[in-house]
Symmetry: C2
Subunit: 332 residues, 2 copies
């Protein structure tokens, strides 16, 4: 089936490519490890020319064959590919940022193949401690495209778990404010590079009980000593035979996500006063969203939903708004 758009979700550690059909439906997709911090390095010939540029190589891996078959399909990308360390910097748009309008600020780079890559800008919040996002703004838009028209956006909190999880508040189609937690990246560093990882053993699957135990410690009176102190319990509960090696990774995950969400819930209560905790919609990998769903409920968030295909939908919507798609003669 004919491709109408190639959409790339190009982050720090991964690159996902989608071939989208006439109405934005996914015709084909692939996932590569060629994030901007781990680009390919082996030179080869692309479009008849020798090439050693990692961005070109990764781009060609992601969609070179699709473009060879259909050279005039437009291409759009979001994520860290637009950062200062990316292929070309797409300046941040400040909050309040109307996500549907981001298509008016696309950055471009011409690739070796002659195709122009359009890059979505990120969003910056100039708070006392600034916050930035790249890629999540597109997912938020994808979610908005799917929301029933009568949804009260200001009673919604959008959660995007990941290496750096984002929590986004909206108002009338604008990203009004957001917070970042480095939970995922710190978790990975602790498991790989501290004493906590040494006694962890692989478990058969997600150990929900160990995870919940970690969340509950974060919410308990012991949690008030903070994460830097609670972390040590992953070791000492192991030392004293109260936490098996196979339980330690999920316990630690629960401890960290629990601290993230406990702080988030407190901030929501302060900001919203008597209205209580907002409805949450999560966007992210199924496995990670499962953890966050469990922990959110333990933290008192009563309504938690999941959004799917938010990136593809958001990129499609921005490409349409930017006029990248060829008009469809059949639809005249």
């Amino acid at each position: 089936m004919q491709a109408h758009l190639i959409a790339l979700d190009w982050g720090t550690t991964s690159l996902r490519a989608y071939k989208l059909g006439r109405s934005g439906q996914v015709l084909d997709q692939r996932a590569l490890a060629s994030g901007i911090m781990q680009l390919p390095t082996t030179p080869r010939t692309i479009a008849g020319r020798p090439c050693g540029n990692g961005f070109e190589l990764a781009f060609d891996d992601a969609c070179g064959d699709w473009l060879a078959a259909e050279p005039h399909v437009p291409v759009i990308a979001c994520g860290m590919v637009g950062s200062a360390q990316g292929w070309r910097e797409a300046a941040y748009c400040p909050t309040p940022a109307r996500v549907a309008d981001l298509g008016a600020s696309l950055q471009t780079v011409e690739t070796l193949r002659g195709t122009v890559l359009h890059i979505v800008p990120g969003v910056i919040q100039h708070s006392r401690l600034p916050n930035v996002m790249r890629g999540e703004e597109t997912q938020v838009l994808g979610l908005l495209c799917d929301l029933p028209a009568d949804t009260r956006q200001d009673s919604l909190l959008i959660g995007l778990p990941g290496s750096h999880s984002k929590w986004v508040s909206l108002e009338e189609g604008c990203i009004q404010r957001f917070d970042t937690f480095m939970t995922g990246e710190v978790y990975a560093a602790l498991c790989a590079h501290t004493i906590l990882g040494r006694t962890q053993q692989p478990s058969a699957g997600f150990d929900e009980a160990a995870f919940i135990r970690g969340v509950q410690v974060a919410l308990s009176p012991d949690g008030t000593l903070g994460l830097l102190s609670n972390l040590f319990s992953a070791r000492t509960l192991g030392l004293t035979g109260q936490l098996a090696g196979t339980e330690q990774a999920d316990y630690l995950s629960g401890l960290m996500i629990g601290h993230e969400l406990h702080a988030l819930a407190q901030a929501c209560r302060e900001r919203r006063g008597e209205v209580g905790l907002p409805q949450v919609v999560l966007i992210g990998s199924v496995a990670l969203c499962q953890r966050y769903q469990i922990a959110l409920r333990l933290c008192g968030f009563a309504q938690v939903g999941l959004a799917e295909q938010a990136t593809e939908r958001g990129l499609w919507s921005l490409a349409v708004a930017a006029g990248l798609l060829a008009p469809l003669p059949e639809e005249v």
Copy 2:
């Protein structure tokens, strides 16, 4: 001058050796990188026998020449050398632990050279989240040996900053309770293995202003979102030109120590009620204690002192109590 005791402070990443004279004064000392997790691996001959045991090799590096000159000097060690991953496990003593009595529970291992190494046990607190220490109990004893007799121990909080900082409360010569914070080890992992390290640049020395700024963020309303969120500001303040690369490491250090001490101060207030914050005495490296002194004052701890040579004094005191020292004929 004749040695009366060889005292080893043998931790995870370092090994310090002290040759002590008749009244416990330091005659010679050396510092090696041969902690129990980075023991030497090149076999060689020790006391006429081939040896590939890392503990033996490190022990010989630390004090082999001292023992060759004076073979009958007793040797005592504290720290992770007595852990399950150490040379020989010295079982933990539970709290409340009378530190002066720990000499009655020394573990022993006979070395290749024929010298018996005496190992001080650690202390365990069987709280809901257990806590353990190895080495710090000896430093606490060293501090106690130096305290004026009329000191009110129960109004004292002993801080031992390090990879895992410990905060110890005493009562009548006993370790009554203690808390652990993994601040140092987590800081090292974040600098070396997360995005936060990528934009850090070496600074000419300790940047006190950047450090204080980090502490103040932890104590500010922004601090209530927790460390996992605040961490990201080390990146975004850099991105927005508000924090130079050379300031980022000390800012991060202030942020983390600030979160540790803010939580500690809250716990002290809860435990002590109206009495207010306790007097603090710090034991540790000069550079790290300087940071903690600054941050403690910002957190409201009004009285902060430093203790020196606590390890040597503690090991000496335990060796005396255990009867390891030969009687001194001149003193009859």
